[in-house]
Every structure is written in C-alpha cells, then in structure tokens.
Symmetry: C2
Subunit: 177 residues, 2 copies
Amino acid sequence: MKRLPLSEVYKLIEPGPVVLLATASRGRANVMTMSWHMMVEFEPPLIACVVSEANHSFRALRTTRECVIAIPPADLAAKVVKVGNCSGSEVDKFAKFGLTKLAAEQVAAPLIGECFANLECRVTDTRLVRSYNLFVLEVLAAWTEYKGRQQPKTLHHLGYGRFAMSGKIFRLPSRMR
Amino acid sequence: MKRLPLSEVYKLIEPGPVVLLATASRGRANVMTMSWHMMVEFEPPLIACVVSEANHSFRALRTTRECVIAIPPADLAAKVVKVGNCSGSEVDKFAKFGLTKLAAEQVAAPLIGECFANLECRVTDTRLVRSYNLFVLEVLAAWTEYKGRQQPKTLHHLGYGRFAMSGKIFRLPSRMR
C-alpha cells in the first residue's frame, strides 16, 4: 500500500463509511465492524469512535491503546457483515473470513489487505470511555491502495443490515476544506 | 412533519450524511453545515459533534445548549454548500437562502422545512469542548417527512465541495441493530 499524507485522512472518514476496527492483544488479532465514528481534527488527524464494552475489541483497545481503522470497499459487504455477526471471543475472524493481516508500521494491530485504506491509530483520550465507551484516536500513519480519484464505493449502514452504497460523485464551489 | 420514535434516530445519523445545525440565540436563528458527527447511544439517542470555535454557531450552541440537527436531501446540495460558505455573523442565512424555519417542540432553535428529518437536541456533555470543540447532544424529539422506505438520498462530503450521494440500497442478514 501507498502512504497517504495525514492531511488527507479526513476525506476518508468524513463521508461516514462503515469501517473495520482491527486490534491485537497478547499476539492475537481481532476485528470488528464499526459505524459510530467521526473526525475530530484535521491534522494531526483525530478520530472519535464508540466501541461498546459488549464488544470483545473493547478490552484490547483499552489495554493496548492501539488499533487500525480499515475502510472496506462496498464489494466486501458480505464479509463486513459476517465480521459484525460474531465475536472475537469465539472465533479467529481473520482466519474464518479470509482477511489478510499486513504488518503495520507503528502499531501491533494489523492492516487489512482487502481494505482500500488503513489508518494506524493510537488512543489519545479516554475521558469519555467510562460514560459512553467513546475513544479519541490519533492517526499515526495512513495507507491506501487506490490511485487518484478511483476511490472505491463505500458502505453506509442504515440499520439492521440495510446498507446504502455511496453513489454518484459531484462537486460544488465550496470554501470548506 | 411526523414524529419519529427516538429509537429510530440512529438510522438517520449512522450512515454519515452531511447535516445542517440550526441554533437560536437572542431571538436570532442561524444555521451551519456539519459533517463531523456520530451516534454515541441508541436510546435515549446521544450524538457527538464537533463545532469549531471558528464557527459563529459555536457560541450559540455553548450558550443556549440547544440546537436542531436537520438532514437535507441530496437535491438541497447547492444550498447546503452556500450555507457552509458564509458566516451567520454577517448574514441571515435562513432569509438569504430561502430556508423555512418551523417551530420546534422543545428547543428555541428552528426545524428546517426543506430537510426531511429534524432532531431537537440539548447539549448534555461539554467535557471535551475545551480540547476538541466536541459536544455530546441528547435528542429530545425527532421529526421526519418521508414515508416508510422512501428516504431521500443524502450527501456525504469527500472534501473541498466534492460530495457522494447515497446510492443503491441493499440488505444482508445481520445481527447488528
């Protein structure tokens, strides 16, 4: 994968795609499906996310304070849902669903080869974890596989397994970053 | 508009649409465009959002602790961008862009008639405002205009005025809410 400038990270998260969250704890990798996340700062890129304490990944995230946020293309939808339908406490999801672990540069959690973007993250603020399971992450390194504007379509969760794929792209004159 | 059960609110926010944030301060309404928001809890619905202190809305939000999050259909894109391109410190955006203010039930901020969903919100947590301009809101009442599954297409910001419209909808067997 090709390194993505950190200043570009928000363009991946701001549209609200379903993502995968990879963790590694005691030498064992795990992955969950996540849709509750948002940008908090452009640069260094900060991302807030909610990881329920009911998720097996919660403990790994809180203990190791590291993770990878990976953005799946829409055609990975079936696997994305399957990842969300089972728990890492019972299953090695990378093996079961044929997801490829790639070594990250700065964190122990793996990048996911089937995803078109991977963000290596460190937990930087846990003040709202007790109240809401809300973590603030700093993106340390970012990687992508697509070239230029050929970004794959993404998944957007509407509830209970209903998804909207991202569709037509257009541009309007804007002063917004 | 028709009342939407609070348990359904997450289905509107989780897909990551661009929204409008309406406030009212000293009898004057204002509106901004926002893309940094996420769900935090299903019910009562909690939403986190980042409103930069550079935005005129920041002060109204922090002072009145109330707002309306309105979700524009994709065909409102041109107005949504114009709302984001100017400041409420200089312009009455509702008048300038022909947006319709409707009375909310529980907050002073107005609902926006051209939006297909409106969420009346109260600020419930400001612990991360100083660090990140991050507010936690509770949705007090929710309103929609669309019937059943005829939800309008939404806007998803890719940066610098590039938007993806939500596209094809499909469903996969899922245990996720």
